[in-house]
């Protein structure tokens, strides 16, 4: 395959600032959105995802002013998630400069929304986020995961939903394996490999990155198109240029930074 494996820092946004929690709890402020976006752009991130984690539980959609500010400084693609539950909200966010929108809880509450978004904006804009947890021996969905008090057991199996969202028009899937999230013990390779077998659209791994070997493993063993991570980058456990250099040495196709010809 000649597409580069994507390295995707995920910035959880709450009240206009980037935050990070462990297993979806205890959020700490890690910095300003535009400042962090620019830093990751310069480090060679292939794409950024911004999750407004307060949006879905509080039944509100994202404030788009920061989307415009981010779009003006970024020369790499970015995706916005959180509380997008209508065509009008999606339109506003895409118009503000986001390349993609990601929906999670609203898609579970109203699956037809996926079809409507794909018809209106094209499936390449429509990312479906899936929060999955192992329970009773099956991978099952959870939604409204931004706030533990509002979390709902959706009674759906992850892999069934993965197939359905593709039929409905998902252009990309981010599978967040909640058992692994935030603890940096590695991606859920078994679940991601199972998902990969059912996925004809790009699949992005989320949850569990802690070392450079975890990225190598998830590309080799689960064949995902991209790997999303948050704390490992926010806390500078791994630097993206060195990570990509190492992945390149391991034989992965990654986008290497090119020296700028600009002299000023």
């Amino acid at each position: 395959m000649s597409l580069a494996r994507r390295i995707i820092p995920c910035l959880d946004v709450r009240d206009g600032q980037v935050v990070k929690g462990v297993r979806f709890r205890d959020h700490q402020v890690v910095g300003d959105i535009v400042e962090l976006a620019a830093r990751y752009r310069d480090a060679g991130a292939d794409e950024l995802v911004f999750y407004d984690i307060t949006a879905s539980p509080q039944q509100r959609s994202v404030d788009v002013s920061w989307v415009e500010r981010v779009s003006a400084v970024l020369d790499i693609p970015f995706c916005v998630a959180g509380g997008i539950r209508s065509l009008a909200t999606a339109d506003t966010i895409l118009r503000a400069g986001a390349d993609k929108i990601s929906i999670n809880s609203p898609a579970l509450q109203n699956p037809d929304l996926i079809n409507q978004l794909a018809d209106e904006f094209g499936r390449q804009c429509v990312v479906i986020g899936i929060d999955s947890i192992l329970a009773d021996g099956h991978w099952q969905l959870r939604h409204n995961t931004g706030d533990p008090e509002h979390m709902i057991d959706s009674q759906r199996l992850t892999l069934d939903w993965l197939v359905e969202v593709q039929q409905r028009g998902a252009g990309e899937i981010v599978l967040n394996c909640m058992d692994a999230d935030g603890v940096r013990s590695g991606y859920d390779l078994v679940q991601l490999a199972a998902a990969r077998k059912l996925c004809q659209v790009p699949l992005i791994a989320s949850g569990g990155a802690g070392t450079r070997e975890h990225f190598d493993q998830v590309f080799c063993q689960a064949d995902v198109d991209g790997a999303l991570a948050a704390s490992v980058f926010h806390k500078a456990v791994l630097a993206i240029p060195e990570l990509k250099q190492w992945l390149h040495q391991q034989g992965h196709s990654v986008r290497t930074l090119t020296p700028t010809t600009d002299s000023h």
């Binding site: 000649s2 503000a96 390349d99 804009c125 290497t256």
Partner: protein, 203 residues
Amino acid sequence: MSASTKPLQVVIIDSGGYNIGSVMAALQRLRVQAVLSNDGATIEAASHVILPGVGHAATAMRKLKAAGLDRLIPALKQPVLGICLGLQLLYEHSAEGNTQCLGILPGAVSKLHGSTDLRTPHMGWNRLQWPAESALQQQLPNPAWMYFVHSYAAPINHCTVASVSHGVAFTALAQRDNFLAAQFHPERSAQAGAALFSHFLSL
């Protein structure tokens, strides 16, 4: 080099696509303030014209026809840059909605067929390949990684300047006379994309 003697007047054709703001921002980073318009006289007076595009081929062609731009664009003499759907509209036909397009570039755009091994849309960063020596190649970083997002693709023919592989090879950059077209999104392709815009603006 008209760029050094005459002020740039870049017009982005208002095709209704969602990447217009991103294209404008990319030009602003190069200190160029572009104008958004679908007015024929404004477009004809431009030094450089950009046809952006995200969306459906049939919808985009309907909008161009409604503004009379389906006849105006092929007659333009200044440098014109098509981006993504804007490239596909320059060909004769697109399988997306079985749409007659502008016919500036020869050939027909067809759908990319996906599988679990070959995912579609073709989404992400991919490297340009150069079938022949090209002046443009010298203007871009090597390797030139560009960001692609699309489900339809144009064939390789004598107008192809650079190609890209995703299961099959297809056109990534095409050129004919004053028309240049990119299947990827230079506005989201970091330094390599900015270099493409710089090259276009120097034409």
